[in-house]
């Protein structure tokens, strides 16, 4: 039989076979891997840009980067990290895990899945190529406010626009795939309210994506027509309004920040029960809190524009709506803590990252609450305090969440346990470096250091030096992460089927590594977990 099969399939060179495998794959696991590697690659590219920024800010004055180049770095760093790292990273995890967690053989639309992924490398090539163009890359900040991006944008802005369009198409198609998969391919018996929380948060995220990515596409299309086709959406000369850009952008932008964090909530809700060896506390309230956060995200965009000129009653409405978000978020944090309460906790690397996520994300949440207050925001607006805030929610939030997920599920993906000692070193250096980098920004911001400027006053020098040292450490830490991932792929202690002693869910009933095809017939639900066979690293 084997000989016959070889006769039928024409022999390909190893390179062609490799290309064909990855270019044409419709397997959710392989596409998930592709997404994760793309995200990882861009993580280093975006990280290198952050290094340039921190190198320049190491001392006051202009040493390494010309102001224009610095602005390009700030812009590209933001765009790459938001659209190229966090979003594809979460989509990769969704691809790998959602079918495994709901007992589906694959995503509902495997070929569309392949298409969604392969748009992205082209989109980011387009975006990154603008760095080498005359006039430089986009330099107006990742929020691309008009008229900076319309009237005054460099010629490469058009590449940015098309790149954003492509990312948007990819995200929307990916989100449609996720929703259709979750609605149609759950194993019999798994009702919506029995789904794992990672699946729930991704379902909500996918709805957010479908509702706001087209708005982003709309706003960049208006920019494009303003730039080249004589419309005046954002130009006062033709009857448009530049301030309207901010409204439309942030109508997309605020739900977007929850797109960047909700799957992280889901990941923490999977990991903490596993290592606390207890069921998740308050499952229903977790689901409703996620949905409430998603709903509220649509009515708070104005808090990004308090200083842009607004009547007091509008500011107050946005302020109260924003502060209301603290309630469902508080419910979540409470539930995570309550899950750990009197649990038999162990502190393997995924759990450490999940705990780092809960604690540091909460700090970011508190600074968010401070920014929500209109009178306070007038002082904080556009200072490094804002930078500290969103890096606290994004780095320990979205990035730590993704890393926790990688450590948690990589034994299932590769069949090998990662190096626990290196994982712990990774966590502790990362957590120290994150705080060293971003905590001083609170102080410089409160003292009035504006963001997005290449130079700063002398009194901010010490804190900036601390930040830069922290950033260098943080950058090196991620090289260690890359090493750990590669080492795990290449070998290590064999992982058992259940992997973690306290793990629960369908993905832990398939062998490690997960075979190419899983759940060709729907599995039984609730799953029967293997009690004897589990690798516990602390034994």
């Amino acid at each position: 039989m084997v000989a016959q099969a070889e006769d039928v399939i024409p022999q390909r060179s190893p390179l062609m076979a490799f290309m064909a495998r990855w270019l044409l794959t419709t397997n959710h696991k392989e596409i998930g891997t592709l997404y994760l590697w793309l995200s990882f690659t861009l993580f280093f590219i975006g990280g290198a840009m952050a290094m340039v920024i921190r190198l320049e800010l190491f001392q006051p004055g202009i040493q390494f980067a010309e102001p224009l180049f610095y602005n390009q770095m700030v812009t590209m760093h933001g765009l790459i990290m938001v659209f190229g790292v966090v979003m594809p990273g979460f989509v990769g995890l969704a691809n790998w895990q959602i079918p495994l967690m709901i007992g589906a053989p694959d995503m509902a639309m495997p070929r569309l899945n392949n298409f969604s992924f392969w748009i992205l490398p082209f989109a980011f090539t387009l975006l990154l190529s603008s760095l080498f163009m005359e006039g430089g890359a986009p330099n107006f900040g990742w929020t691309f406010y008009a008229p900076l991006s319309t009237t005054y944008g460099p010629p490469s802005t058009d590449f940015f626009i098309i790149g954003v369009h492509m990312m948007g198409i990819s995200s929307v198609l990916g989100a449609i795939n996720v929703i259709v998969t979750i609605f149609n391919l759950r194993t019999p018996g798994m009702t919506l309210m029995k789904m794992p929380l990672f699946v729930w948060t991704w379902l909500i995220t996918a709805f957010l994506l479908i509702m706001v990515m087209p708005v982003l596409a709309g706003v960049v299309t208006m920019m494009l027509t303003d730039r080249h086709f004589d419309t005046s959406f954002f130009s006062a000369a033709g009857g448009g309004d530049p301030l309207m850009f901010q409204h439309v952008f942030w109508f997309f932008g605020h739900p977007e920040v929850y797109i960047l964090i909700l799957p992280g909530f889901g990941i923490a809700s999977q990991i903490i029960p596993t290592f606390a060896r207890k069921r998740l506390f308050g499952y229903h309230s977790m689901v409703f809190a996620s949905a409430a956060i998603a709903f509220l995200s649509f009515i708070v965009w104005g808090h990004h524009m308090f200083t842009a000129g607004m009547p007091v009653w509008v500011e107050l409405s946005f302020m109260y709506a924003t502060m209301l978000i603290a309630v469902p978020t508080g419910v979540k944090v409470f539930n995570w803590v309550a899950t750990m309460w009197r649990g038999s906790m162990t502190f393997e690397t995924p759990m450490l990252f999940a705990l780092g996520f809960v604690i540091l994300f909460t700090i970011g949440g508190f600074s968010g609450l401070m920014l929500a207050l209109v009178p306070a925001d007038f002082q904080y607006h556009d200072t490094f305090f804002v930078v500290a805030h969103f890096h606290y929610v994004l780095y320990p939030g979205a990035i730590f969440g993704t890393m926790a997920a990688v450590y948690y599920w990589i034994p299932k993906w590769t069949g090998n346990m990662y190096d626990e000692r290196l994982g712990k070193i990774h966590f502790w250096t990362a957590v120290i470096a994150v705080n060293l980098t971003f905590f001083p920004m609170h102080f410089t911001g409160l003292a009035g250091m504006p963001r997005r400027i290449v130079d700063y006053s002398l009194q901010f020098a010490d804190f900036n030096m601390v930040s830069s040292v922290g950033a260098a450490l943080l950058g090196m830490t991620q090289v260690l992460f890359l090493y750990i991932v590669i080492k795990t792929i290449r070998g290590g202690a064999k992982a058992s089927t259940r992997v973690w002693e306290g793990a629960d869910g369908l993905e832990w009933t398939v062998p490690s590594p997960a075979p190419h095809h899983t759940f060709e017939t729907p599995p039984a639900f609730p799953p029967i977990m293997d009690e004897n066979e589990s690798t516990s690293l602390n034994e």
Partner: protein, 190 residues
């Protein structure tokens, strides 16, 4: 399986329409934003339409005794080669009374230039009480090289102006309309 497949198709169609609908919604935000600003007077936008003078004198018996100060500002936007200033910087006007003033503009460029003045009222919520009968901002203005013009503005302030407002500022920013667009652009905003 067939049932699942049909369900899937239904879901896909619904979700794609949601995405397309949201793209349309982004565009719908533009007129919504304009209407919202005009209705509430946020942003200091004045109505782009001229008031019919005859109705003023029919409906409003006589101007009230209340007087307010109205200040005029004129700015030119980047790249607009015009000199642009108000004839008077400040007027003391009675509510409901029709007033006339003018703005002076001179084209300092060596070729004809078309401009569009965009108004803004401060405080913003007073915009809805400022009624213009005639304004150079209702249409684009074209000046030949070196030509100058006194551009009239006739307006009155509604006598329902809230008590706490004593001073209004009406500011015009003059934008250059690119020549290729001048003929095709229809301006319906003041």
């Amino acid at each position: 399986m067939i049932e699942t497949y049909n369900n899937q198709r239904k879901h896909i169609v619904l979700l794609i329409s949601l995405a397309v609908g949201m793209f349309g919604f982004a565009y719908a935000l533009v007129p919504l934003y304009q209407v919202f600003c005009e209705v509430t007077g946020l942003n200091g936008k004045t109505s782009g339409r001229a008031r019919d003078v005859s109705t003023i004198y029919q409906n409003q018996v006589i101007a009230s005794d209340r007087e307010v100060t109205i200040q005029f500002l004129a700015n030119v936007n980047n790249g607009m080669p015009w000199e642009f200033r108000p004839a008077t910087h400040q007027l003391r006007v009675r509510l409901g009374e029709l007033n006339t003033t003018d703005f002076y503009a001179r084209n300092r460029a060596a070729q004809a230039v078309t401009g569009q003045a965009v108004p803004s009222v401060s405080p913003g919520f007073a915009a809805e009480y400022l009624h213009k009968v005639e304004c150079f901002c209702f249409s684009q203005q074209q000046l030949e090289a070196g030509e100058d013009r006194h551009m009239p503005l006739r307006f009155y302030i509604g006598d329902d102006l809230p008590e706490e407002i004593h001073t209004l500022t009406l500011s015009y920013t003059l934008f250059k309309v690119p020549t290729v667009r001048a003929s095709t652009l229809v301006s319906n905003r003041s």
